[in-house]
Point group: C2
Chain length 584, copies 2
């Protein structure tokens, strides 16, 4: 089944093959993709669309002397198979060895860990600049999808590239899609270029000072070899604009490109997932329902996303229903939050949605455009928890400490469905503060909650003595468990507090705790450095109160088991109980 | 002298004037600019170049119903004069009332506090989007300079604008300059457009889906009135590309545009500053000298800046001397740090320079492109201190807490000239870690220092007892002063520690302090939230050690007096001594 693929220990073996054999190789590689993706899921459409292009890249260029940088690197599976890592696709026992993104620890053919978009051009420019300083002569190739071009960093990279005077090849993989449909004026130009087979004068790349060549048959290995041979060893920067089909080779994926950008394990015959999606109602469906209802009732309400409607599972038909109350800014978090500030400033009610890991791209815009101006923007972030995305490039665990230290920004950490819903609606309708809401990572739970957030205070959920537990957001349930364990172990009831507001210190409440407590325990779903707990430690620093902060370390964890990680960090309830014995 | 200007209480008064009177008004406004700028300094070139355009804007449009957003807003002085704020220019006693940037607290004609570049298009898009949701019909005008277009956020904004179907006017003020010369491929296109009077097919704005009109005479009020009248109430987005002369009306500024972007108080006849620049040798000259020497000796060394060579005062002739060892990425911090990561990954030695306030724009790229990849990039930041830029949009006080919580990033806080120089050279040459160095804000001081940073440990500079002072970076001298005051007041010598590394906790050293200390005092030149001191508080949280953190509050301070602020925060030495009396 993988006769040719199994002979490929590196690019040198690709170069030995005939064109016919390369065709066979592409078929085997798609089979290998099916093998991995039906069983463990992953990025589908980008990889199926780039098989031929990446075979041609390794046929024409000499990696790793010639250097490839893949944008987001979620289309790099074919490259990985051709650089000695095919076992991670054909052999279930080896799946775990392959990270799903480029990874210098895996191979000398990978130069960066990459998982955020629009960075390949600038990263590759750096490689090229160093090459020129050193006086070597390799080819540098940046691969980028049409969707990623809408990111400001990609456009800034094209602009810098436009001033270069040495070899630099930008391979634009145009499959007419981001994860969802593309958005922005530039996509009309790309369409013009496709229709005119690259001859339209309306050429964004040329306006940025770049040479340009078009190849319609991006899924034909011979055509790709021809065009790449033409640009190899070129002495100036050039854009190679290729047209490919996202999801090429699987009918379901060719037809529904958005749904098949990324897949769960699935049945190849039916295209249906083979794993349980979890309960039908969850935080994302709650958010979708809120958005649709609110938009109907309130014409000033608008949802803004940097190309991530999927962050809350907002489907194409729901987006269509929202009409002008839905704005996709392309893959630009910077634009999304800055536009949201403008909307709020002119009386609209903007709700920004994406995944936590991507929001940090708009750190400056949140600080300057939103918070200095105190614009009442609501941002709702999915995957804010350690128990979410675990790839090193997609961690949500830095969100808390990244954002709670920006003045004026109110970071809300709801603990259950009821609190989430009331916080969301309250936030969208208030006109005082910029608000960031963390979607809990531990699934829907139910509680009776106090819905008064106006004074932004912590809430005592259980009044006790000696020990007070401040259990933030989706670690509230861990706080409940710990409170019960303390009562069982030590025979007294501790105080349990739901801080609700992660970004401020409720000084009155903390003052009062000194009356009948000797130990404060903070629990937070994020790194401790710069986080919530440290503020509590600072508050009590010179007072006779012991404080112990539990949370994650300042580390780029990669593909961890969440339960095991908690244990390694000494954060299970029995471990904390043991530590308490030393402290009281 | 200001006969007409004094009659302008708002835009309605501009509309009453004849064209001849508008000419006179422009002359009076330049005189008013001279009055303010010769006496207190400020942004010179951008404002002298935009007098006529902003008169025309207020003549044609109806502000504040029609809404203007000025990029960076350092060209908004004429707008401010025409919206009731001329006294801030003609009357010395009123200077202080005018912030030098747009400011909603000053006027209903200003919609945002703005001080970072490339945001006007997206902010204005938000205003326009809210307008469309509400169904009103005002004009929305974003003003942006050609330099700012190189910022990714501006290009992403143009891309989003390209999909709009309602009124939106982007006034591109092309004066052929950023602060320094412009950089990037797009500037060749802008030149083509200028030369062809807007008819070149090589049109970046059209490739992004936008309508376009060119006006050569941006410094002629009649021409500007004509072109703005043409686009007023337009029903779709359009770029109005105008050509102006930066520094128009003052020969020195017309000739040396970079030097006159911003000015100190100066003598109008000679163009020479009337205030002392401080000592000839300072941290910036040290950095310049290091760069020039290092570049000569080491061909793999490169200086990269996002259009801010002025951050360390790097002059045009010095840049020319550096040749290919100097890279200006345009106003894109994202591109600068991402390229630096690529350079480091391919064996080069990149040094990134800019002001601290701007670095946060590259937060995500520092985290993902540099730190996940552990690329040995050195970033040297000026104005990292509370005692530097005091405009709310340019504060350096958030830098520490923003960056010390990113894994793998080593933040170095030197305390004197000797430490700064050895840290800088060590950092550039090492190949292990990404490094951020904070340029001290308190002027050159000299000390004998230990130059071994390899183990990244804190250093005990004075071994004492009872109280240990951890005085970080340029607050080290305050630590020295406090140590002496403690000895004088309490009769014992405290321990004085120079942490040197702001981003990690030296646990062994802190453990040992417990032997003969009861109080730890931390001093840091930044906000406490997420900062250095909180990590020390966390370390000792459950231990019987008192900790008191001194630093700034999580507040957007604006135009403060540094000395007064310290006193308000209780951070003078006598105030700390009084607090110590309560704690020991």
């Amino acid at each position: 089944m993988y006769e040719l693929l199994q002979t490929i220990s590196g690019p040198e073996d690709v170069k030995k093959l005939s064109i016919d054999q390369l065709h066979t190789l592409s078929t085997e590689m798609r089979e290998a993709l099916f093998n991995r993706l039906t069983k463990i899921g992953g990025h589908f459409g980008p990889n199926f669309g780039m098989v031929e292009a990446e075979i041609a890249m390794h046929y024409v260029f000499d990696s790793p002397k010639d250097k490839f940088v893949f944008d987001v690197s979620h289309q790099a599976y074919p490259h990985k198979m051709l650089t000695g890592r095919w076992q991670g696709y054909v052999d279930d026992a080896h799946f775990v060895e392959d990270s799903g993104y480029t990874n210098p620890n895996e191979s000398e053919h990978d130069f960066f860990n990459v998982g955020h978009t629009s960075t390949s051009i600038t990263l590759a420019l750096g490689l090229a600049k160093a090459r020129d300083l050193k006086g070597t002569e390799e080819n540098i190739v940046a691969v980028i999808g049409d969707g990623s071009l809408s990111g400001g960093q990609a456009m800034a990279g094209l602009n810098v590239a436009g001033e270069m005077h040495s070899n630099f090849i930008i391979l634009v993989n145009d499959n007419e899609m981001a994860i969802a449909e593309t958005h922005g004026g530039l996509y009309k130009s790309l369409q013009d270029l496709r229709i005119s087979k690259g001859t339209s004068p309306n050429n964004i790349f040329k306006t940025l000072g770049l040479d340009y060549i078009y190849e319609e048959n991006g899924n034909d290995v011979e055509s790709m070899i021809a065009v790449l041979t033409k640009v190899k060893d070129i002495d100036h920067p050039i854009v190679v604009h290729i047209h490919t089909q996202k999801g090429k080779g699987y009918a379901f994926a060719e037809q529904n490109k958005e749904a098949w950008h990324w897949c769960m394990p699935f049945d190849r015959k039916t295209g249906l997932p083979t794993v349980d999606f979890g309960p039908e109602e969850n935080y994302l469906t709650l958010t979708q329902n809120y958005i649709l209802d609110k938009a109907k009732m309130d014409p000033e309400f608008i949802v803004i996303t940097p190309a991530m409607p999927g962050a809350i599972g907002l489907q194409p038909e729901q987006r269509a229903q929202l009409k002008d109350q839905y704005l996709d800014t392309g893959i630009s978090e910077e634009a999304a939050v800055s536009i949201a500030s403008g909307v709020a400033r002119n009386g609209g009610k903007p709700l920004v949605i994406t995944n936590m890991t991507f929001l940090q791209r708009a750190y400056d815009q949140i600080s300057q455009d939103i918070c200095i101006n105190n614009s009442p923007v609501t941002m709702v972030m999915n995957f804010s928890s350690f128990d979410g995305l675990t790839d090193v490039t997609h961690l949500g665990i830095f969100g808390l400490s990244t954002f709670i230290n920006i003045p004026n920004l109110v970071v809300l950490a709801p603990t259950c469905q009821e609190e989430y819903q009331t916080m969301l609606d309250w936030s969208v309708n208030q006109t005082e503060d910029p608000i960031l809401i963390l979607i809990p990572g531990n699934g829907l739970t139910h509680r009776a909650v106090d819905t008064n957030y106006v004074d932004l205070k912590y809430r005592i959920e259980q009044q006790g003595e000696k020990i007070a537990i401040l259990a933030l957001g989706d670690f509230y349930q861990k706080g409940q468990e710990l409170a019960q364990a303390i009562e069982n172990e030590f025979g007294f009831q501790p105080t349990l507090i739901n801080p609700r507001i992660a970004s401020s210190v409720d000084e009155d409440l903390l003052e009062n705790l000194q009356i009948n407590h000797e130990l404060i325990i903070t629990l937070e779903d994020g790194v401790l450095d710069g986080g919530f707990g440290e503020k509590i430690s600072r508050f009590y620093g010179a007072k006779p109160m012991k404080v112990k902060n539990y949370g994650l370390q300042k580390v780029f964890y990669d593909r961890y088991d969440p339960a095991k990680l908690l244990e390694e960090l000494g954060m299970t309830t029995p471990q904390i109980i043991e530590e308490i014995k030393q402290m009281i």
